[in-house]
Subunit: 358 residues, 2 copies
């Protein structure tokens, strides 16, 4: 198979972890006889520094012609502490999602057995949990009108959804539920929000088309509690952009660590594969970031964008094997991890590559 | 002390749990020689059934003249599954908050040692956690304009904050932090939302007035993760209405169970004391609801509205003693709770009353 992959490291630890992801792609290509070509592009803070724009036209052009995009992270503390900054790294990320029509963000939450102890949640609560989140990614308060009024003393943002936007993501979620545990949980705040009532109407209207899928509705507040109280009761979860942002970060504790979670953003064209951890400036450049989320992004990319199921499975098995062999990065290790098994970003990457080559 | 207390049971298990709360008030009055008088009023679904309105004028009038309000819960599944219902129980709750100017919702999250095992989170993560949440309660997307457009095919809600609204709640949080661990964490989504950037500006502007309090800012997604990963790092947390709704329900797992969490809504006038659990129609009328959140509401009421610290402490100690004696309701019990210690709502209430009388 001949494919062109764009690597977009972005900010913070993005460069360190996507470097490992790219090496995994190279080894997979070699092992299975594929021809992958690569390019790189800037986004976020590094793009602002280089070009003034968080999503330069050149980056967007390269994105449009790539077969898949391996993404790092976006963000910089400089802007977080300056609420009045007009140009912000995150604008690049949001604009990319909109321009590429990436309306469905898939976040599989599954614990590798070896990491049962890395979570703050009890092992007996976690064992067997396996959730697939569908987060809507191009609507909601992320893309509604926002403004200052009243000499800057009042500010608003608009949570907004149209039925067609809800329908296309909910359909994807129903279809995924069909191939899995046949349960769909839709999360909203329909007891207060009009946009949530519209969301719930759409789910209710579609449900009869999927009689084999059991549907439940949860309010986002109750869900934030249930998710960690009893994660095993969930199979596929579908929700809006903002609630999905919050709930999937929370759900990272189900997977042991944020450093283990990959996501796929898909929609009208090219898929973007991005760890759910952010730019993590506190550990940037220290060589300690966990590269496994980026490696698992590669597995999602191979599976979803290229349909290469065996290759994807090979990557996941390599991660599993390395964890079974006891190797850990700092975020998933603990006091009983032996010093020679506690690895930095590159060394962890090397273990994965060796295992893949074997 | 002579005081008038309005009991507003509302829907679902509200009646069962506030009945216990009221008995606790009666025993405390007797024990400490206070003169408490009582009245009752309707809100929510039961009010709609009786009067057509979720917050009848009579209820509101009674609320305005009470010295404090002991509140149950509001909500009914009938409306949840009917997104097009025009009159909804929750409107009564929201209107009450607005009419009474209850802009600050305090939610103390503290684990009783005996409940370390009732949580899905590991005991070593929880031991010592003690967080006081300040949730803004009369602004945000709860009270912004909402509308259907486009023949009903599009819906929006407006997240909106003015500086004065943020300032008054943030000041309360700073002042509370001063009397506690001297740390304040403000939660927003300032990397995306304009209303969050306004929120952050206000916190930054006030911080110099409280040089003894260490301030940190977290994005709501990161916070949803950190809260359960490392609850001990937080002291006072302040956030908007929607994020507070989600995060405090999540935080109920830190306290072992939602059935243990009380909240105080205060502001311009009368304080309202309300469990954070909802109407829980699945267990309504079965006599199994945990009344301890309502009992702990009484402790907050005595402390905050009446300044009766000893009385409040007496109630908390009674709860502690009963838990130490091994008594549990279903939600905080487990397979090793002996049958004669597993109590229903009334029996648990009776244990508390006996202990208070002793
Ligand atoms: C960086 C930020 C804008 C982004 C979001 O909120 O979508 C991030 O948290 C994510 O989940 O991808
Ligand atoms: C019932 C509902 C409207 C309410 C809210 O969202 O504020 C409840 O969840 C709460 O936390 O008091």
């Amino acid at each position: 198979m001949k494919k062109h992959i764009l690597v977009v490291p972005g900010d913070g630890i993005g460069a360190e972890v996507t470097a490992v992801g790219k090496q995994v792609l190279e080894v997979i290509a070699q092992k299975f006889g594929h021809e992958f070509s690569y390019d790189e592009a800037l986004i976020g803070h590094v793009a602002i520094e280089a070009t003034g724009s968080p999503l330069p036209a050149e980056t967007l052009a390269k994105m449009r012609t790539a077969d898949a995009i391996l993404f790092g992270a976006v963000g910089h503390p400089k802007y977080d502490n300056d609420p009045s900054a007009k140009v912000r790294p995150e604008q690049g990320l949001l604009q990319m999602r909109k321009e590429l029509g990436l309306y469905a963000n898939l976040r599989p939450i599954k614990l590798f057995d070896e990491l049962l102890d890395a979570s703050s949640i009890k092992p007996e609560i976690l064992r067997g949990a396996d959730i697939l989140f569908f987060r809507e990614l191009t609507g909601d308060v992320y893309f509604g009108k926002r403004e200052r009024l009243d000499d800057g003393n009042t500010a608003y943002d608009t949570m907004i959804y149209s039925k067609y936007e809800v329908e296309r993501i909910v359909r994807k979620a129903f279809e995924a539920a069909r191939t899995r545990g046949k349960k769909l949980c839709s999360v909203d705040k329909a007891n207060v929000l009009e946009s949530s009532r519209l969301w719930r109407e759409v789910v209710q209207a579609l449900a009869p088309e999927y009689p084999d899928v059991a549907v439940e509705h949860q309010f986002v507040d109750a869900m934030a509690m249930l998710l960690i109280k009893d994660p095993k009761r969930f199979d596929v979860v579908v929700t809006g952009n903002l609630f999905g942002d919050i709930l999937t970060d929370e759900a990272s504790q189900i997977a042991g660590s944020m450093g283990m979670l990959a996501s796929a953003s898909v929609g009208d064209s090219t898929g973007v594969y991005e760890p759910i951890h952010g730019s993590a400036h506190d550990i940037t450049g220290k060589g300690v970031a966990n590269p496994l989320a980026s490696v698992l992004c590669v597995a999602l990319l191979l599976d979803i964008s290229f349909g290469l199921k065996t290759e994807a499975q090979t990557v996941i098995e390599a991660v599993d094997a390395i964890l079974k062999a006891g190797f850990r990065t700092r975020d998933i290790g603990n006091s009983s991890t032996p010093a020679d098994k506690l690895l930095g970003t590159r060394a962890m990457g090397d273990q994965i590559l060796e295992r893949l080559k074997a």
